[in-house]
């Protein structure tokens, strides 16, 4: 009996491993029309400023003091409407704006953008 169970198990696991290789989401390559730098210079800069200083008049927060990791998480949150079940997001306005910007072609890779912003703010 034990041998039988083991045999079933091993074959099932082997099948999954095989299946998983073909459908691994992480391997999906998304291509963007513009580079993160181009998006930043053409769009983000208008409200967030060339050095991430923000704009009190537009209630745009300062983002120049954030680390790469923090920037990445904020962008992730903005793009995904929060990252917790049913908790929502504190970025409601930017979430709306981001969706509009994506529709206009201003989409980008989150990690690349976070790194670009950090490097631009700390030149």
């Amino acid at each position: 009996m034990t041998n039988k169970i083991t045999a079933i198990t091993i074959s099932a696991i082997a099948t999954i491993a095989f299946t998983a290789c073909g459908t691994n989401k992480h391997e999906e390559v998304k291509t963007y029309k513009m580079s993160a730098a181009e998006v930043f210079q053409a769009s983000c800069i208008k409200c967030h400023g060339a050095n991430g200083e923000g704009n009190p008049e537009k209630k745009t927060p300062k983002i120049s003091d954030k680390t790469i990791g923090e920037l990445e998480q904020d962008i992730y949150d903005v793009k995904n409407g929060g990252s917790n079940q049913s908790s929502g997001t504190t970025h409601t306005v930017m979430e709306h704006n981001m969706q509009k910007l994506i529709e206009k072609g201003y989409d980008y890779d989150t990690k690349v953008m976070a790194t670009y912003m950090y490097e631009t703010f700390h030149k």
Partner: protein, 490 residues
């Protein structure tokens, strides 16, 4: 308990119900879930091989909950003659928190989920029974109980989070799930129809509350139904599924007592979804509809009048704003109003935050959580500071299932860093698991990661509620945690 014993226990239950599924089918299901498959593959309770390292350095772990103690155990197994210190003030810091839902549902007893800190301390690991009161990461030092300075080479933050009941007007107290000094919270929560499963005493009291609600429903006459309200706050929370699990269990118990038609069950969430992953969101919506639940999004609990039995919510929405030249679109403006809701029974999921001593220190951030590179779990500013578990600013990561992946990643990276390697070898992909209890005997096993897709990639619908996942939840996950993780091997 060996892995075969856990497996046999599940299969014994399966054998009792051949009309539901055969052993063969059960094994098929168990092998497709990444979590359950580890049970079969033997990585669950103590067989995974760990290669030894001879790195030197003083490692201090702040916090001795599941994350801290599991990390201590695995480091102890991994490093020869390791110098590890755990700092933890709470004698009951380690517990099986996922069991709190089952305690509240009247399925387990509270004693089944409480462990003693000192029993879970790996041998050879030093314990300081105190609280860190200051962090000085620029000088590699921390202060314990405002007097004792301790220096470190590597610092691991595993302090967990606090349940901030006091942030809701009319309630008070800020506690952890196991704090025994919880009198301030218990003054209003756990009595008089106000409940919360997020702390151990609260979970036990919730089961009394459900039984009271059943008794009330049995005596209830008139057209207006009794109102049972379930909340979800505006902060990240541990175990994101719990606010719904307790709703499903309350429903199941009311139905079992034959009084479901006397009570209306309504979910009030701050967000605008049931779940961040569309597939699971849709599945939960269907489950809500099938059970006759009501729901209101964009409602955040801000006040409680426990005498009048009124809950006050901040209801928020956006309206079209002025034309925005920069955006080349109309902007949005935020609107909100207070909404008062009368309840007979309310389950509160409190706002959660890092302990102020952590969140407001140099290792914290404006958002309160400890900012780490989310794949490597290394602090974004201090290269010898690491963080995991509930206090880490990692999306979706506040579950024991996340910690089970995180602690191995953290240790591999920390050791590589101690060995002077510049590239960190391990990456956390955001995997987490939410065994969403949808009834007594059914669970939807939601497994996912940052790709925002359900992770089981087999031709098996992951959004289905299944009995086999209930068996996994009730029989396997506790030994997986208590024996596997706390020995640093699962």
């Amino acid at each position: 308990m060996k892995k075969n014993e856990i497996l046999e226990e599940i299969l014994k239950e399966v054998d009792k119900h051949p009309e539901i599924m055969s052993r063969r089918e059960a094994l098929k299901f168990l092998s497709v879930s990444p979590l359950a498959a580890s049970l079969l593959a033997g990585t669950t309770v103590g067989t995974s091989a760990i290669s030894a390292s001879t790195v030197k350095g003083k490692i201090v772990i702040v916090g001795g909950g599941l994350a801290g103690m599991s990390t201590a155990a695995r480091l102890n197994n991994t490093i020869t003659n390791a110098d590890i210190t755990v700092i933890e003030p709470d004698p009951l810091s380690v517990s099986y928190q996922p069991g709190q839902t089952l305690v509240a549902g009247g399925i387990w007893d509270k004693s089944e989920i409480v462990y003693k800190r000192d029993d879970k301390l790996p041998s050879g690991v030093k314990l300081i029974k105190g609280s860190v009161t200051a962090f000085d990461p620029d000088n590699n030092k921390i202060t314990v109980d405002s007097k004792e300075e301790i220096s470190y080479d590597q610092l691991i933050i595993a302090t967990g989070l606090t349940l901030n009941y006091g942030a809701i007007k009319g309630l008070s107290g800020e506690i952890t799930s196991s704090t025994t000094d919880n009198a301030a919270v218990k003054e209003k929560v756990g009595v008089n129809g106000v409940h919360s499963i997020f702390f151990q005493d609260g979970a036990a009291a919730t089961w009394d509350g459900i039984q009271e609600l059943i008794a009330q429903a049995k005596a209830h006459t008139g057209e207006k139904k009794l109102q049972a309200v379930f909340t979800h706050p505006d902060t990240p929370i541990k175990c994101g599924g719990a606010p719904k699990k307790i709703m499903y269990l309350t429903h199941a118990r009311l139905e079992e007592a034959g009084v479901r038609d006397k009570v209306e069950l309504t979910f009030y969430a701050n967000g605008k979804d049931m779940f961040g992953i569309p597939e699971y969101h849709e599945a939960i919506l269907e489950q809500f509809k099938t059970r006759g639940f009501k729901w209101n999004y964009a409602h955040n609990l801000t006040g409680m009048d426990t005498d009048a039995k009124i809950a006050t919510f901040n209801h928020h929405w956006t309206e079209k704003g002025a034309w925005d030249e920069d955006l080349e679109e109309f902007g949005v403006i935020l609107k909100s109003e207070n909404v008062n809701v009368a309840y007979d029974f309310i389950h509160i999921t409190p706002p959660m935050k890092a302990h102020d001593v952590v969140g407001k220190s140099k290792i914290g951030s404006n958002a309160g959580w400890v900012p780490v590179q989310k794949e490597s779990l290394q602090h974004v500013k201090y290269k010898n500071v690491w963080c995991l578990g509930d206090v880490a600013a990692v999306p979706m990561g506040k579950t024991g299932g996340s910690v089970r992946k995180q602690y191995k990643v953290l240790i591999d990276n920390m050791i590589a860093s101690m060995e002077g390697k510049t590239t960190l070898p391990a990456a956390y992909g955001g995997y987490t698991v939410c065994p969403l209890i949808t009834g007594i005997g059914t669970v939807m096993l939601a497994e996912f990661d940052w790709s925002q897709k359900p992770t089981p990639s087999f031709p098996l619908d992951p959004t289905k509620e299944r009995w086999i996942w209930w068996l996994l939840k009730v029989y396997a996950l506790k030994p997986m945690t208590a024996i596997g993780m706390l020995s640093g091997r699962a």
